[in-house]
């Protein structure tokens, strides 16, 4: 089952790191006092609302590196089940 677990893990990493739509639908965008801000909503705010695209790109880059590190860690963990 190793390869399937790896697939599920990568898809879950992506969807959980980019979570934010549910919070946006529930409490609005921007939420009161930015209390329900996630990284994704933060990047969206700076990219498409304030048009500070450089800062937004930097956020996305950090997010990307974090996701990459996570997926490497998990693939190391699952390494003994995959060949």
């Amino acid at each position: 089952m190793g390869p399937q677990l790896m697939f599920a893990a990568v898809m879950q990493i992506v969807s959980s790191f980019t979570a934010g739509t549910v919070a946006q639908n529930l409490v609005g965008f921007p939420s009161t006092d930015y209390k329900a801000h996630t990284i994704m909503t933060h990047a969206y705010d700076y990219g498409w609302v304030r048009f500070e695209m450089g800062y937004a790109s930097a956020i996305c880059m950090v997010l990307f590196v974090a996701m990459y590190v996570c997926s490497r860690l998990i693939s190391r963990l699952l390494g003994k089940y995959t060949d």
Partner: protein, 290 residues
């Protein structure tokens, strides 16, 4: 053998007491109900008249069910300059071609990446995982530039081509194909099969569960493809675009929005149910005896 006997036998096999089976069944039933709830709510909301939609707390049933919302939605959609059937045709064409092409491309590429050793195959494999981590927002501008350089703006192909190669499908198929024993492929090689034949007659028929999963994902993704920033001609737009337009007209059209949600939800759900049956049926076949 009666059903009770079967149940007892399977309980003994799993080392479980009778009560345990009942507890697990109850737990699964409650979880299943919880999963079905959003779909059920979507359908119930679409048959409520407008004055019932905003009752708080929301009711789980419609007091006076009506199909007015659907009638209004079709009336709105038919009042457009382009006939409604054109949008349906566009959506069907896009969905069918994207699903078919994505399955063909993903499975062939996945076979090569999983089972053929060539310089750079490791690097390509890790690039695919990296490609999965990208944010779609980040590549909007590049995508537009590529589209306009390829003269695909206002071309119906612009709806199909970007979705044909999907890293998600490729990764899914690759992970699943990598589990096929090398012995099977070697056996096919000894019998004189070329790579293409090995791929389509040995590997892919064994991968039906993964292929069906890929088809479900591809269908869902393709059904929701919107004209976006590449196609501006009204006659090339797809169903989601017009349905969202019809639904986005504010609170007065809330009923229409609910009907539109059901209308967009049904084809993927039906497709999922049909494909799901296939997945379970093919899981029984196995490949090789070690």
């Amino acid at each position: 053998m009666t059903n009770t006997d079967k149940l007892k036998a399977s309980n003994r096999q799993a080392g479980r007491k009778h009560g345990g089976t009942i507890a697990i069944g109850l737990f699964l039933a409650v979880t299943g109900l919880f999963m079905v709830l959003p779909i059920y709510l979507t359908i119930v909301m679409s048959v409520k008249p407008v004055e019932e939609l905003f009752i708080f707390p929301p009711k789980l049933y419609a007091v006076r069910p009506t199909l007015d919302n659907f009638r209004d939605m079709f009336r709105d959609l038919n009042s457009n300059r382009v006939p409604f059937s054109r949008y349906v045709f566009n959506s069907l064409a896009v969905t069918v071609s994207v699903t078919v092409l994505q399955c063909i491309f993903s499975s062939m590429a996945a076979f090569t990446l999983a089972k053929c050793k060539f310089p750079g195959s490791k690097a390509i494999n890790s690039i695919i995982v990296v490609a999965l981590l990208y944010q779609s927002n980040v590549i909007y501008i590049m995508q537009y530039i590529v589209m306009s350089k390829l003269h695909l703006i206002d071309n119906p192909l612009a709806l199909i081509l970007p979705s044909v190669a999907s890293p998600m499908g490729l990764f899914l198929m690759r992970q699943s194909i990598s589990q096929i024993p090398d012995a099977m492929i070697e056996a096919a090689k000894v019998d004189g099969a070329g790579l293409f034949r090995i791929c389509w007659q040995i590997v892919i028929p064994n991968q039906k569960p993964a292929l069906m999963t890929l088809m479900i994902f591809a269908f869902q993704g393709a059904w929701n493809i919107q004209a976006g920033s590449w196609v501006f001609k009204e006659q090339y737009k797809t169903l989601p675009t017009v349905v969202t337009q019809a639904a986005a007209s504010g609170l007065a059209k809330a009923g229409v929005a609910m009907a539109a949600a059901v209308f967009m939800l049904l084809p993927p759900v039906i497709f999922f149910m049909l494909a799901q049956r296939q997945v379970i049926e093919t899981m029984a076949h196995s490949g090789i005896k070690e």
